[in-house]
């Protein structure tokens, strides 16, 4: 079905509230999904893949700081979706970069990592240069790098395969964020590296996707939409004769 950006964002927010997200997290998660979807990066599909995990996650198991100093922080994402509360880990990196010029934040053990782009977009819009890096698979070894220029809410995204896999290739389900207050950190691949570029989404392409989504709407799978509606229904109070009076209006207006 064809939906609007606002409609997708609104339904996701209600669905996340229905799952039990705190209000701020529900709003952030909805923004992340809708942002990804309208930039052609399949946010709804990403969400759908992680939805069963989300429903079973322990809402109290929030990201935990393992180590931090002035420039650096390492957090344990508790094997949860980035949708739940990862925004605060990125805000920690933002605060450190503002104070020290550059920061590095490593978030270990998290999934739905693609969706973090939606929140990083907000930080970039607030004037921060950001590079996010993670590995997607071990065989073949693929890496993704996302770069935002300060003041630009749309990134450049590259995905590539590493031909010469290092011997030590442990599964890596983390994200590394580098933020710099003043220095641009755009991803660029040197020609002499032994890499296969699998995907490249320049800023202009993603912006064009957004324009098209605003003009034509966004296609969403009917089944996923129905599932989100079911989750969103959880925040509604069942109607009764008494509650109908709670709107303060009559039922018939033949006057």
């Amino acid at each position: 079905m064809n939906v609007s950006y606002n409609e997708l964002q609104g339904l996701c927010r209600k669905a996340f509230s229905g799952i039990g997200f705190e209000e701020g997290d529900a709003a952030d998660a909805a923004d992340m999904v809708a942002w990804m979807q309208c930039h052609g990066l399949h946010g709804v599909e990403q969400l759908n893949r992680g939805l069963d995990f989300l429903l079973e996650e322990d809402p109290e198991a929030l990201p935990r700081v393992i180590y931090q100093d002035g420039d650096l922080a390492v957090l344990d994402g508790q094997s949860q979706s980035v949708l739940r509360s990862i925004s605060l880990a990125t805000e920690l990196g933002f605060a450190k970069a503002r104070a020290r010029g550059l920061s590095v934040v490593k978030i270990r053990r998290c999934h739905n990592r693609q969706l973090i782009m939606g929140y990083l977009s907000r930080l970039a819009g607030r004037g921060m240069n950001i590079t996010a890096f993670w590995r997607n698979a071990q065989i073949p070894l693929t890496e993704q790098v996302v770069g935002f220029r300060a003041g630009h809410a749309t990134p450049e995204v590259r995905v590539y395969a590493v031909r010469e896999v290092p011997e030590e290739n442990e599964p890596n389900d983390g994200i590394t964020l580098v933020m710099a207050n003043h220095v641009e950190l755009l991803p660029s691949l040197g020609a002499d590296h032994d890499l296969d570029l699998l995907a490249h989404h320049p800023e202009s392409e993603l912006l064009a996707c957004r324009q098209q989504a605003l003009a034509d709407g966004i296609q969403v799978d009917d089944a996923i939409w129905a599932r989100l509606k079911t989750l969103a229904h959880r925040i509604l109070v069942e109607s009764s004769e008494a509650s109908r009076d709670g709107a303060g209006a009559g039922i018939n207006d033949n006057d």
Binding site: Y5, V237, S243, G248
Partner: protein
């Protein structure tokens, strides 16, 4: 910094948020020349917008399809109306209704057969349909049955309807929702960001309502002509102008006010800037006389305003009773450079809140230049952003400085936590429930900001006891549930008209004030509450007509002078400054 921001920053005379944002005062606001219906009409006239009828396929019962073209210098739009039969048992103004007398959409661009077919299949279904992404506005309206019947009967008989009918109920149709911004598949507001015609908040919605007003006139004339082709006449110009469009509104407006605090702050900041600009003008005798004339007109308007609601009737009566004193004051106080300051200060000491805000509205009315330039600054980019590096101690100080109102309430008492706000499973209709009596409080909509600020303040104080040098992000990593309210506070201390200074849980809280706040910015008049949480209002009553717009008016000042409309044939009488001719001040059975 925008021009409006510069104006605001340069004006030290803006009233403090603690005065302006009190719920009772917000619930006393009147429409101003910056209200959206006024700015739309000015824009249409200034830019020579043209409206033409493209299709009018109505049967003898007035049912069928009509299409109006709206041509601006920048683009072309179409208002597509579907009028259909409706059983009386189905006619409800509530969001839970499923059918209406007329449904319509405002479309960007042309309407070909394919789009018309898609709209015909979906627009009448409203929320239950899937709407096209070129539809900018989706709406529906129900008839005022008595007015409709009276107007058709009178026109069919070849005479004009009694204007008093429009004084009692100022419209033939009242809308029950006017959707924009992506609802049910229609275009996102973001799509209009670069659209010079409709980038102002709610301007597309108001244009849709203006087209409905024109349709209502043409439809009622069509019905009269069908009924009695030999005798029927058209509606007189004065009555056409006096005909507005109604709107029936409930609690749905309350979440909007709370969920868009930066937008609300922007609207109120522009209004307060306008007031400060007006107050600093040095008046001459012409200005003084103009204000006297406007006050007389407003007095008659309120004397003519009819409502069954005892509280609103009392408030209108208090306003009418106070205005002779205002007129006396204006007639007798010596002309001085700070006359308007004196007037506002005198009013604050002696007038009701509604009368005070009426005087403010009239002062704003006096000065199109420089005030009208503020109308371009009603929009805002909404982002409640965290400042994670802010020292937590600073945040605590900000809360205690700017949110004293929120910390002053008792949210533990029965009275202080009386209501909870929720959405019903029945079409998500917003409702109020009594916390200690009704089920569903665990699903409460978090729109009462006061208790949330108090809870966060409590948690911050405890955290600071342990870690006095902590930053905001340190606190939030351990207490993430406070993230939303923290970033709201951090954002709104820079936009202080964003939060309403009231406990929205309290037993004495009046939801009507919330509704009126938003409606006043739309440009609503004739507030007619049907309960403490349901109101009917009128839009565009007195506004220039489509044919007057198409005639390309030269004198835009006169064209724009339609606030506080009076019943035709009953003008404010020159030389009778303190009395209105109307004797219609009681309750009318509608």
């Amino acid at each position: 910094m925008t021009e409006a921001d510069r104006l605001s920053a340069a004006l030290p005379g803006l009233r403090p948020a603690d005065e302006v944002m009190r719920l009772e005062r917000l619930g006393s606001l009147h429409a101003t020349r910056l209200s959206f219906v006024r700015t739309l009409v000015r824009q249409m006239a200034r830019q020579r917008w043209r409206i033409s009828r493209e299709r009018f396929d109505l049967d003898a019962n007035g049912h069928g399809t009509a299409i109006y073209r709206l041509q601006t210098p920048h683009g072309r739009y179409h208002g597509v109306m579907f009028a259909q039969p409706l059983e009386d048992t189905q006619r409800s103004d509530r969001v839970i209704a499923e059918a209406w007398d007329v449904t319509f959409g405002l479309v960007e661009g042309d309407v070909d057969d394919s789009l018309l077919a898609q709209m015909a299949a979906n627009v009448p279904l409203q929320e239950a349909g899937r709407q096209h992404p070129r539809v900018l506005v989706l709406s529906r309206a129900n008839k005022s049955l008595r007015n409709f019947a009276h107007f058709v009967e009178a026109l069919a008989a070849g005479h004009q309807p009694d204007p008093a009918w429009l004084t009692w109920v100022g419209y033939l149709y009242r809308t029950t929702a006017v959707y924009g911004n992506g609802k049910f598949g229609i275009a996102d507001f973001a799509r209009l960001h670069d659209n010079p015609d409709f980038r102002r908040p709610f301007s597309a919605q108001m244009a849709g309502v203006y087209l409905l007003r024109h349709f209502s006139i043409e439809q009622v004339e069509h019905l009269a002509a069908c009924r009695a082709p030999d005798t029927a006449c058209g509606l007189a110009t004065e009555l056409r102008r006096y005909l507005g469009i109604g709107n029936s509104t409930g609690l749905g407006m309350a979440p909007f006010l709370i969920n868009h605090p930066q937008l609300i702050a922007q609207w109120i900041a522009q209004r307060e800037t306008a007031l400060a600009l007006a107050m600093r003008q040095v008046p001459d005798e012409t200005d003084r006389q103009r204000l006297i004339d406007l006050t007389r007109r407003a007095m008659c308007h309120f004397e003519q305003t009819v409502t069954e609601d005892a509280d609103q009737r009392e408030r209108n009566a208090a306003t009418v009773a106070a205005l002779p004193d205002v007129l006396n004051w204006l007639a007798n106080v010596p002309l001085a450079a700070d006359l308007w300051w004196q007037l506002v200060e005198w009013g604050a000491r002696t007038l009701s809140l509604e009368a005070q805000e009426l005087v403010n509205t009239l002062l704003i009315e006096l000065y199109p230049d420089p005030i009208d330039s503020l109308e371009d600054h009603m929009g805002v980019t909404e982002n409640l952003d965290l400042a994670p590096d802010m020292p937590l101690m600073h945040l605590r100080q900000l809360i205690e400085t700017h949110y004293g109102w929120a910390l002053a309430h008792d949210y533990e008492s029965v009275e202080g936590a009386w209501w909870f706000w929720y959405r019903s499973a029945e079409k998500e209709e917003p409702r109020l429930g009594q916390r200690h009596l009704e089920a569903g409080a665990e699903k409460e909509m978090p729109i009462a900001i006061g208790p949330r600020v108090a809870r966060t303040h409590h948690a911050i104080r405890a955290f600071l006891d342990e870690r006095p040098r902590a930053s905001v992000v340190d606190f939030l990593l351990e207490h993430p549930r406070h993230k939303e309210i923290v970033r709201r506070i951090q954002t709104l201390v820079k936009a202080p008209y964003g939060d309403i200074h009231a406990n929205l849980w309290h037993r004495d809280m009046k939801p009507m004030h919330l509704l009126r706040t938003k409606l006043s910015f739309f440009g609503a008049s004739r507030f007619d509450p049907k309960s403490d949480r349901w109101v009917r209002i009128t839009l565009f009553q007195g506004a220039p007509l489509v044919e007057e717009l198409n005639a390309e008016p030269v004198d835009l000042g006169t064209f724009d002078d339609w606030s506080f409309p009076l019943e035709p044939g009953m003008p404010a009488r020159d030389g009778a400054p303190f009395a209105c001719l109307s004797s219609r001040s009681g309750v009318m059975v509608k």
